[in-house]
């Protein structure tokens, strides 16, 4: 993890030239961060950088379009920025990217599974462990056990797009988990069980749209198909079919664009594994088009182009 003092110095240097700098600040407790929009030098004192900085701040970029914005990104976040620039959703000229090396953050979901995080008293994050005291009990856990899955299979620890890089670029950490491990386990289930799984999971959805709002690439905002009356894709009924269909709108609109940052699932207050849909689409994109989103600003998304003779598509033959 890079030095926060060095990061603050860089931000102070850039701040006079931009309208705002987007970073992280301490959240409601010691293991939570919150996004921070810095507009003046006093705000920079609140800037933090540690393993609690989970948010993908690229989510804020499309709504700040037209302003001069600087953003602090981890490796995974930078892929969302690349995708936004590639699609013309933000202007590269208006953007200053401060890149960071990152070897993993901590997952609130995994912490919650281990301890009563609502009654957190103190927490300490060490080099390879996390020690938390919650509800009178002290618990020491290996860092790997509380890292999100995406960090365990991280391939891009350094920001891929940056104007300023703070800290020293690091070697990709050893993969401790296959990026598609959870998808493989899910796909090993029989078809009916998968169907029933989604029926059950989607019935828990409260249709709060947190997944959509946290997604850096869900940029329609007030013009979202789910809320549009013309065309009327979805009713406002709260039955499982509508809720499931909303997730499918989200997933299909991200096909070939999603960088699998996992913000949708992290933001879900009901803990529904909605990232599985995007993981599946991501794997299809790799299989069919050898394409990974968010790596190249000048690439074209595979579903926005075609080849007259597709290499990997075998069409159905009749008779």
């Amino acid at each position: 993890m890079a030095d926060v003092a060095a990061l603050r110095r860089t931000v102070l240097e850039i701040l006079p030239r931009v309208d705002l700098v987007i970073g992280w600040q301490r959240g409601p407790d010691a293991l939570r961060a919150a996004p921070l929009l810095m507009r003046n030098a006093a705000d920079v004192d609140r800037l933090i950088w540690d393993r609690t900085c989970v948010h993908n701040l690229a989510t804020f970029l499309p709504r700040e379009k037209g302003k001069k914005v600087a953003i602090i990104v981890k490796g995974c976040d930078s892929r969302s920025v690349i995708q936004l620039v590639q699609e013309g959703l933000v202007d590269r000229e208006d953007l200053t990217v401060i890149g960071l090396p990152c070897d993993g953050v901590v997952s609130q979901a995994k912490l919650r599974r281990a301890a009563d995080m609502d009654r957190l008293e103190s927490a300490e994050i060490g080099a390879d462990h996390v020690e938390i005291t919650a509800a009178g009990k002290t618990l020491r856990m290996a860092l790997d056990a509380v890292m999100p899955d995406k960090c365990l299979s991280c391939a891009y620890p350094n920001a891929l797009l940056f104007d300023r890089f703070v800290g020293d670029p690091m070697e990709p950490p050893q993969q401790r988990q296959d990026p598609y491990a959870r998808l493989d386990a899910f796909e090993a289930l029989p078809l009916e069980e998968r169907f029933d799984f989604w029926k059950r999971e989607m019935s828990r959805c409260i249709r709060c749209y947190a997944c959509r709002n946290a997604c850096p690439l869900c940029v329609c905002r007030d013009y979202c198909l789910a809320e549009s009356r013309q065309p009327h894709y979805q009713s406002q009924e709260s039955d499982v079919r509508e809720k499931w269909f909303f997730q499918l709108i989200h997933a299909t609109h991200l096909a070939g664009r999603c960088t699998e940052c996992g913000e949708c699932e992290r933001a879900c207050p009901m803990g529904i594994p909605v990232l599985l849909f995007k993981k599946k689409l991501g794997r299809i994109m790799t299989e069919l088009f050898q394409y990974e989103a968010g790596l190249d600003v000048s690439a074209t998304a595979p579903l926005l182009t075609f080849q007259a003779e597709e290499e990997n598509i075998v069409e159905k033959q009749w008779l």
Partner: protein, 157 residues
């Protein structure tokens, strides 16, 4: 033709205006026997196909979805079916993760002259769907909002 022997299932067909809709018409004019499970929706081009149409149909109670357009290189708008091919192939591979049998969705190309091919496609696809049987329902009819239940009582089907 097992598709005709048992009760009807719901199959939605999305056909391109220029080729497959004409192909279906050709089959009809030639009086080829076809199963009657298919409900056709005419599109200006398969490039109009949003994969969400298929998902909406499958979640909404369709037992199968068939998309048919012009052969590659024959699109009236030159590239609509090329774009559709990529999207629909991605969709076909995506269905299993939802727990939906991928055999319930097929996309293909039938030209306006291929009445016999149209008959073969519809017959084969309808047979597949009948082998698979009715699709599992996302929404039990009893979970439907009250006003739909009342509707069922007023117009029982």
């Amino acid at each position: 033709m097992s598709g005709m022997a048992c009760s009807e299932l719901k199959i939605i067909g999305f056909l391109c205006n220029w080729c497959s809709y004409g192909g279906a018409d050709t089959a009809g004019v030639a009086r080829f026997r076809q199963p009657t499970d298919l409900r056709i929706i005419r599109l200006p081009c398969t490039g109009r196909m949003d994969p969400l149409f298929v998902l909406k149909a499958l979640l909404g109670g369709a037992d199968g979805v068939l998309v048919s357009g012009c052969h590659p290189f024959d699109c009236h708008y030159s590239s609509g079916n090329f774009m559709a091919r990529r999207r629909l192939e991605v969709l076909a591979r995506f269905l299993p993760v939802l727990g939906i049998d991928p055999r319930r969705f097929v996309y293909t190309w039938v030209s306006a002259a291929e009445g016999a091919k149209w008959q073969a496609v519809v017959t084969a696809f309808t047979e597949t769907i009948h082998e698979l049987g009715p699709a599992p329902r996302v929404l039990d009819p009893d979970d439907a909002p009250l006003r739909f239940k009342e509707g069922r009582e007023i117009w029982p089907t």
